[in-house]
């Protein structure tokens, strides 16, 4: 399904739902730090800075008039990570959820991996709608029965009960990362996954928690010689021996695990030559890649740096095949953005289900979509003002100079505290989830 981005006759993006408090005073713990649809799109998980995971489930499609796609309602909420203290290093370990990745569903239960800076956990989310009644050794309220009073045996019977969704930690993968974990990625073999921190990437088996294989190590012998760190990593969607990792220098390395146990030597090296005319004090920072995502097809990958999104063909290493400017008007503001730390913001990016469109966030609660076929792009806003059910989203425009038109917003008026770092696209449909600080917006295309 094509994602029409130009607002033409194809379709329009409409508001569907918003989750989260309306309160202006946002508690830091409620700030959403990751968003992820599961493989079917039925479930949508968010993680926040307080270490909490909230899972939304889509209800069945409504047959009412007007027909609407199912809404996402809260399915399960649980505390995934708690703040910890590393006594050896006198360091506090934040409970913030950096990433959530779903496992493909293999039975009635759902599984996901969630990680903070140091520890990855495998959670099982299962439904319970029956309860056993008629125990022999205990009463219905749980009190133990006096064994001498039991004169007959009975078989407990399963009785229906109100649906309860339970989340339980099934595996805890700890103590494998010295530095801060930035990525986790489930392998296509559904048995292993990788976790990456600033300097190392480890390969785990989902069943084994007490050891992992270190497959990439870029730590120099002398830390003063450190020039780059790992910023993101992902497994190939189909080839279980292939993964990529991006660096703070704007490069991407593709590695083949069949080549060697330690994949320090890459199989492919993707780098675009720098334009010397655009060099500045901040060139290093803005070239740092904040996210890397394979396309669903596995043929392309997309990288996000501070000002742009690039699509790379895995068969061509010397330059990307497509480059999209997200907010080029910020290039002249880099010094101010350095002062207020916004230049360090790590934006994510995502593909739609058919790989025909890509999406990424920006400031002022704007997010951008690019249609790869028509080369059209659109800027939309996640805002409570546009939150009437099925209200169509109006394209937004930033005025970069000269006279500001009526509906345009000038660069200096942008709110840099309202940033959209995390977005997700439903794997099959045109439904998107956009995290704006502590609110989760869900948009979908208009149904005629």
């Amino acid at each position: 399904m094509m994602a029409g981005v130009g607002g033409g006759n194809d379709f329009q993006w409409c508001f569907s739902q918003v989750k989260g408090a309306i309160d202006e005073d946002v508690a830091e713990a409620d700030i959403i730090s990751t968003v992820e649809f599961n493989y079917s799109g039925e479930l949508l998980a968010t993680g926040d800075k307080g270490g909490r995971v909230v899972i939304f489930q889509r209800e069945q499609e409504s047959k009412n008039r007007p027909p609407s796609r199912g809404e996402y309602n809260v399915y399960s909420t649980f505390q995934s990570h708690e703040p910890e203290f590393d006594y050896l290093k006198s360091l506090e370990i934040e409970e913030k959820i950096n990433k959530i990745r779903w496992l493909p569903q293999q039975n009635a239960a759902h599984f996901l991996l969630s990680t903070n800076d140091k520890t990855i956990k495998l959670w099982k989310i299962s439904e319970r709608d029956k309860r056993a009644e008629g125990y022999n050794l205990k009463d219905e309220d749980g009190r133990l029965r006096d064994p001498f009073r039991i004169t007959s045996l009975r078989v407990p019977v399963l009785m229906p009960m109100d649906l309860m969704v339970e989340a339980s930690p099934r595996r805890i993968f700890a103590n494998a990362h010295t530095y801060h974990i930035n990525s986790i990625s489930v392998n296509s073999d559904y048995e292993t996954y990788l976790s990456a921190d600033d300097l190392r990437i480890n390969l785990w088996h989902l069943e084994i928690t007490d050891r992992s294989f270190n497959i990439v190590d870029i730590k120099p012998a002398n830390m003063e010689e450190l020039t780059e760190v790992i910023t993101a990593a992902e497994c190939h969607p189909h080839q279980c021996n292939v993964f990529v990792y991006s660096s703070s220098k704007g490069t991407i390395r593709l590695c083949d695990m069949r080549a060697a146990a330690l994949c320090d030597r890459h199989s492919k090296f993707f780098e675009e030559p720098e334009d010397p005319s655009s060099r500045s004090f901040f060139s290093e920072i803005i070239s740092s890649i904040s996210d890397v995502k394979f396309s669903h097809s596995g043929r392309y990958m997309m990288t996000r740096d501070y000002l742009s999104v690039k699509v790379w063909d895995l068969n061509m290493e010397n330059r990307p095949v497509e480059t999209y400017q997200v907010h080029e008007y910020l290039r002249s503001k880099l010094c101010s953005l350095y002062e207020n730390d916004c230049i360090f913001d790590k934006f994510e990016c995502c593909w739609n289900g058919s790989d025909s469109a890509i999406m990424t966030g920006s400031y002022n609660n704007f997010f951008r979509m690019f249609d790869r076929n028509t080369r059209r792009d659109i800027t939309l806003e996640a805002s409570r003002e546009n939150s009437k059910p099925r209200a169509m989203l109006k394209p937004r425009k930033v005025c970069t100079g000269g006279k500001r038109k009526k509906d345009e917003i000038s660069v200096d008026s942008l709110d840099f505290n309202k940033k959209i770092l995390h977005t997700a696209w439903h794997p099959k449909e045109n439904v998107i989830a956009v995290a704006a600080t502590n609110n989760l917006y869900i948009f979908q295309d208009k149904i005629n």
Partner: protein, 172 residues
């Protein structure tokens, strides 16, 4: 450019300091980017200072530049070229003397402090040599960039900043 470089250096240092107190421990990625930006600014600043010092040296009457229009005395062209080379080398000398004095003064100051923690290793306070090495290595690279001469202050502060940046990375 000089003023901008100095401002970015100061900004980077204050950010590196504040990183230490942030929750969750020192962020390696952030501190690396900060220190790289600080070094880029510092190198620009140094180069500008060097060029400025070179220009000031060339104004000194005993070392006329071959390119100046002022009538020369009885110097031969060969002598002029040699003299120009001496002029080019000269900026290092006063800087070295100044640095040595700074180094000694710093050391004597340090001895009077109380016992320091193990993390503050002595080699970290010999950044001045390392800074010069960096400057030498990267000077050629920087000279190819656009530079503007400007009046600036002493680069002592800049070189002390390098020590901090290196220590920030090593401390991780």
């Amino acid at each position: 450019m000089d003023v901008e470089a100095k401002r970015i250096m100061a900004l980077s240092i204050s950010k590196l300091y504040s990183l230490r107190t942030q929750r969750g421990g020192l962020r390696l990625h952030r501190s690396l980017l900060l220190s790289m930006t600080m070094r880029a600014a510092r190198d620009i600043y140094h180069t500008v200072q060097l060029l400025k010092d070179t220009e000031e040296e060339q104004v000194v009457p005993c070392a006329p530049d071959a390119a100046t229009e002022e009538p020369m005395e009885t110097d031969s062209p060969q002598t002029l070229i040699q003299t120009s080379k001496e002029v080019a080398m000269k900026p290092h000398e006063p800087k070295e003397t100044l640095d040595e004095d700074k180094e000694n003064r710093y050391a004597s100051e340090r001895q009077s402090r109380k016992r320091r923690g193990k993390t503050a290793l002595e080699p970290d306070f010999l950044p001045l040599k390392k800074a010069r090495m960096d400057t030498d290595e990267e000077k050629q690279h920087l000279q190819s960039e656009v530079l503007r001469t400007n009046n600036g202050n002493s680069c002592r502060q800049a070189e002390t900043l390098t020590a901090f940046a290196n220590r920030a990375i090593v401390a991780c």
